[in-house]
């Protein structure tokens, strides 16, 4: 599996902007959605997208909720609006293979290290600026896809997994790697198999740097990644592993490190590997070099705790802050029965009564909030400048690729609805509201209560009306 993935990755690098087709998997049973209506279409759209706008609403209204969800689960290749696509196409991260990018960055790093005292500061600054520029490209690409792609679920799930397998871009050279991490490790697998995601994340240099596995070698064990791999990525903290398992997995992971000399930016170094047999989660992993990683990841991906842990987290993102146990169990059964087919697990969730009953009740996190306001305000019109948006996300505590700790951003209302954050959110709302010349489309907003309607009537200008709409309790929810 690892080899196929690496080959696919090499192939992909040549055509970075087209996502690959998922490998052949069982066909999805269509989702039946009895009693469909314009109101439920809008509610489902607000949940299973970065926010309703006129064009996406036209899409769901044309085919109905069930068929729209089916299509979102198995997205066909699609195009962005030409100017958004052109902006992505001209980025360095689209034009150059990652092997070349990291080789050049590494060259730059060595140059400033060896530079004379007077040149050093300038060269160091140039190096830092280049890293930041590359990260900004990746951030901008993320925003453009979230704002304009018709495959909204794929974009939401890309963020979800980027957050699940979170890396912090400020560490080491990750700013140069994070775009590739998203493009080749996460996004192609966002609706695919969990095991493929796990394998791609484990071998990616962004993860190897972030959780220190690049430094983990025989006799110089570093257990950072091993622990988080079980605690945060697969089993969950109560998933049934011990300190011994952490150490065994850390031994399995020895030797997986970086390669910045050109070509694939990570590789296995047999001489740094601890090739003894290991006992992991009650199974013996025979000393077998690079193969051990796949063996260990198979054990983790197919563990019952992983099925539950991942299903529970998906439910917290898409359904409720306190996941209904029955739904989590049903999703975990699908997870195990389909060998971790993410689209199948989501299908179980979308078809559940709990999902329907929860529509309109999830509190938006800052990213969902900002994107939904922008989508409503812009629709297909181009985003004038990504920087203020990235700044707003940072101000609200949810900057892209910048969660410092490996747990990723939290997913519940309690985490995002503190007094300070709400006050900041209204400031951000104002920033967007006052750039829109006319009133936002009321018919695409969630159903409003009396208090909000009465207050809107007091607005003194279209801009203030927009501010109030975007600040309303209804617009805070999806």
């Amino acid at each position: 599996m690892g080899r196929t993935l690496a080959l696919a990755a090499v192939f992909l690098a040549a055509c970075a902007s087209t996502p690959p087709q998922a490998p052949s998997r069982a066909a999805l049973e269509p989702i039946a959605w009895p009693g469909d209506s314009a109101a439920t279409e809008l509610a489902v759209l607000n949940r299973v997208s970065w926010g309703a706008n006129r064009s996406s609403y036209a899409d769901i209204a044309r085919v109905g909720t069930g068929a729209w969800l089916d299509a979102q689960l198995r997205p066909a290749a699609t195009a962005l609006p030409p100017d958004a696509q052109a902006a992505i196409d001209k980025m360095t991260i689209s034009q150059r293979p990652i092997g070349d990018i990291v080789a050049e960055i590494d060259e730059q790093r060595r140059a400033f290290r060896n530079a004379s005292a007077e040149d050093r500061k300038a060269e160091r600054q140039a190096y830092q600026q280049e890293l930041t520029r590359l990260a900004r490209e990746a951030q901008t690409r993320m925003l453009l896809r979230a704002l304009y792609s018709p495959n909204q679920l794929q974009e939401e799930m890309t963020w979800f997994w980027m957050n699940h397998f979170s890396v912090f871009q400020q560490k080491g050279p990750i700013r140069a790697l994070v775009g590739d991490y998203e493009e080749r490790a996460i996004r192609p697998n966002a609706l695919g198999r969990f095991r493929d995601l796990l394998g791609a994340s484990a071998r990616h240099p962004a993860m190897l740097v972030f959780l220190d596995n690049a430094r983990n070698s025989a006799g110089r064990l570093n257990e950072n990644y091993a622990r988080e791999l079980m605690e945060l990525h697969t089993l969950g903290v109560d998933g049934g592993y011990t300190q011994r398992d952490v150490e065994a997995l850390a031994q399995v992971l020895t030797g997986w490190s970086l390669n910045f000399a050109g070509g694939e930016p990570s590789r296995f170094y047999p001489r740094r590997h601890d090739n003894r047999d290991k006992e992991l989660l009650g199974s013996t992993i025979r000393g077998n070099g690079a193969q051990e990683l796949d063996h260990a990841l198979d054990l983790l991906a197919r563990h019952a705790s992983t099925a539950r842990f991942v299903s529970r987290k998906l439910t917290m993102f898409f359904v409720r802050d306190d996941p209904p146990m029955e739904l989590v169990s049903a999703m975990a059964r699908t997870f195990s029965a389909t060998d971790g087919d993410i689209a199948q697990v989501l299908r179980t969730m979308f078809a559940s009564p709990a999902f329907r009953a929860s529509l309109g009740t999830k509190f938006k996190d800052p990213l969902q909030y900002t994107l939904s306001a922008l989508r409503l305000a812009l629709d297909q019109r181009p985003l004038p400048d990504a920087l203020p948006v990235l700044g707003a996300l940072a101000r609200m505590g949810e900057p892209l690729y910048a969660r410092a700790t490996p747990d990723g951003y939290p997913l519940t209302r309690t985490d995002w609805a503190s007094p300070g954050q709400l006050a900041t959110r209204f400031e951000i709302a104002r920033g967007i509201a006052y750039r829109v010349p006319t009133r936002l489309p009321l018919e695409l907003a969630p159903p409003l209560g009396d208090a909000t309607r009465d207050t809107l009537a007091k607005a003194s200008s279209p801009q203030e009306w927009n501010l109030l709409l975007l600040s309303s309790p209804e617009f805070m929810h999806r």
Binding site: D212, R215, N216, S217, G219, R220, L221, N222, E223, N224, R227, E231, L232, V237, Q243, V246, R395, M396, G397, A404, T405, D407, P410, T414, D415, W416, A417, S418, P419, G420, Q421, L422, A423, T424, F426, E427, R430, G431, A451, T452, D454, T455, K458, A459, E464, L467, L468, S471, S472, P473, M476
Partner: protein
């Protein structure tokens, strides 16, 4: 500390039956959470332990370099200008072998369990111990200097939060704020929205002057130091209970010894805490700052000249009236035989017992009140405040 006069005014408050600002005499308490598990063994260095030097050949702090504390302990030299003077003035006490019985060695699990402050097993996210303390004191004067409300402050009592590195001029004016608040009347978010506007106005009032001054200042002060000064300004005002967290302590790789990554971080933290104590002015006399972290780190250095997740840590207690200048609490000899699971510092001073003891002294709380803050915990009076 003015326990008696404080109690009297608290009783007065309760009679009114509504929440008003805290009485001026109420002592101030700031909890500083070092997230990431700071390497306590390199901060309060066990200078008399031969085993320490044996298992930390690359990152150990030499006895000669450590600042004098007592025969067994020394302080990291990065704290020479900041916390060591406080220690010598007896305004800083150190509590080694402190922590929790949680042995997951997970950052997130252990941080949450400490912040919740509940007995292990069957915990509830409904409230954290700082929120229960705020509720017990019955005064609306708690604030978290963080972007998100930390688990410790979640719960029934209304607590404000503000990210001090992100305060700026507000664009939503008073009329618009009132209109927005109107939309939230009767909503489950109503209280937060009102608190958010109120805290924004407070912060702008208390910091307005400083922000004008700062904008004229050509040299940007270090990040945490600037933040700490703002915290002092706000806590000198109406706020009595505060929380702030500082990250960047998860030193798995290249931690350094006398100098290096940890030393730089410590220097910055120490400088910030020193600036806080100075900026508090007269109020420093009735202020207590407690610095905690989720766990200590492995006693031995790892293969990358760093340390991995451990168990027992060291808490710091500081304040103008703290009974400091000493190493407090239960202790034991630092040697291989005394390590927990042959790996980490043991925990001899449970965080609930230690903090309960401090709160009892500071606010004159009785056993029943303490049991509401730390259910089923036995508080231990280490007499540090």
């Amino acid at each position: 500390m003015n326990r008696r006069s404080f109690l009297a005014s608290t009783l007065g408050l309760m009679a009114c039956g509504r929440l008003v600002a805290a009485p001026a005499s109420m002592p101030r308490f700031l909890l500083v959470f070092l997230r990431g598990g700071y390497d306590a063994a390199n901060v309060l260095v066990p200078v008399s332990s031969a085993y320490y030097y044996e298992v930390r050949p690359n990152i150990g702090v030499p006895k000669e370099a450590a600042l004098p504390v007592d025969a067994d302990w020394g302080l990291h030299p990065a704290l020479a200008q900041s916390l060591h003077p406080l220690y010598l003035r007896r305004e800083l006490a150190l509590i080694p072998f402190a922590g929790t019985d949680d042995t997951s060695r997970s950052h997130f699990e252990t941080q949450d369990s400490i912040e919740l402050g509940q007995p292990l097993g069957g915990r509830s996210y409904a409230s954290g111990f700082m929120n229960r303390l705020a509720a017990e004191l019955g005064a609306r004067s708690a604030i978290s200097f963080t972007n998100q409300l930390p688990v410790a402050f979640r719960g029934e009592a209304q607590v404000a939060n503000v990210a001090l590195n992100a305060v700026g001029r507000t664009a939503v004016d008073a009329r618009q704020s009132a209109l927005i608040a109107e939309m939230y009347k009767g909503s489950s978010l109503g209280a937060q929205v009102n608190e958010g506007f109120a805290a924004r106005d407070n912060v702008m009032r208390d910091l307005g002057e400083e922000m004008v001054a700062a904008s004229r200042n050509a040299v940007a002060p270090r990040a945490f130091e600037a933040q700490a000064k703002r915290i002092a300004r706000l806590m000198r005002g109406d706020y009595r209970l505060g929380f702030v967290d500082v990250g960047g302590w998860d030193t798995h790789v290249g931690e350094g010894g006398t100098t290096g990554v940890l030393a730089t971080r410590l220097e910055e933290l120490g400088r910030g805490l020193g600036a806080f104590s100075e900026s508090m002015g007269d109020a420093w006399r009735d202020t207590v700052v407690v610095v905690i972290s989720e766990f200590g780190r492995t006693f031995r250095e790892n293969g990358n000249r760093g340390t991995d997740h451990g168990h027992g840590t060291v808490y710091w207690v500081m304040g103008g009236a703290v009974r400091g200048g000493r190493v407090a609490g239960e202790q034991m000899r630092v040697a291989r035989e005394t390590l927990f699971q042959d790996r980490d510092y043991p925990v001899l001073n449970d965080y609930r017992a230690v903090l309960g003891g401090i709160f009892a002294r500071l606010y004159g709380l009785d056993a029943t009140q303490l049991a509401r803050i730390f259910p089923q915990a036995k508080s231990r009076d280490l007499a540090v405040v």
